[in-house]
Symmetry: C2
Subunit: 138 residues, 2 copies
């Protein structure tokens, strides 16, 4: 999995720094679609003098070169996703938990011609929202 990190970084002329490597690895491990701040708090235990700005900037850079993603949401802190394969999300409106799921049916849905004609569609995802089982029985 580090393969893509090295390759894409090279392709975009980005230097491989200990900070970038650590940030990428930390995000790879994450299953919770964490915010920049959460990643920072996890990583600062290993690299005590890393700055928040570096973490934040790096996560944005990663998303720009396509090795991570920003999860669609409703404002507030951005949440990052190390999984760049096609997949979809369920989001709990109460506790903001984001759950991955996969669906062949969703993936294969055609983009309406109306849109295809006017725009260049780069990606397509389904967002489900509602309540997780913890929040349902509140």
């Amino acid at each position: 999995m580090m393969e893509i990190f090295y390759r894409r970084s090279k392709e975009h002329g980005l230097k491989i720094t200990p900070q970038r490597t650590a940030i990428y690895q930390e995000l790879l491990k994450a299953k919770d679609h964490p915010t920049a701040d959460v990643i920072y708090k996890r990583i600062v235990k290993k690299i005590p003098n890393i700055s928040f700005d570096t973490v934040n900037r790096t996560l944005l850079t990663f998303s720009k070169i396509g090795i991570t993603n920003v999860v669609e949401g409703y404002g507030q802190p951005k949440r990052y996703d190390p999984d760049i394969a096609v997949h979809h999300h369920f989001r709990c409106l109460q506790c903001n938990t984001i759950i991955d799921f996969h669906s062949k049916d969703y993936d294969s849905m055609a983009v309406p011609d109306e849109i295809k004609k006017q725009f260049t569609v780069i990606n397509k995802k389904v967002v489900l929202e509602g309540l997780c089982n913890k929040c349902r029985r509140r």
Copy 2:
């Protein structure tokens, strides 16, 4: 269209104030999924001493009682939508234009059982991203 505004406000014990009425009408007119700040700037021409906080708070309240929506996005300022009917969005990654579109096929897609079992799904939407024609030829 004001009907739903009065009815839902009553249902939720919200007072009908000139500010709320103006904010709702202003958003109804909007075709651009505006931010709270944009709505504020439009409305302050008519109600010069309205405060930004009132606009912001009111838009959040409206979304909470379901007479407007927050558009899914990638952080930054929240964007509001007066259209509460089921529809989907195309978003330009360059200029952040958000375009509505409708699709019977998308609307009728089933939620995977895996998700249905675990969660209460309240809504489902498709997000398309890419470049609008203005940004394509940059």
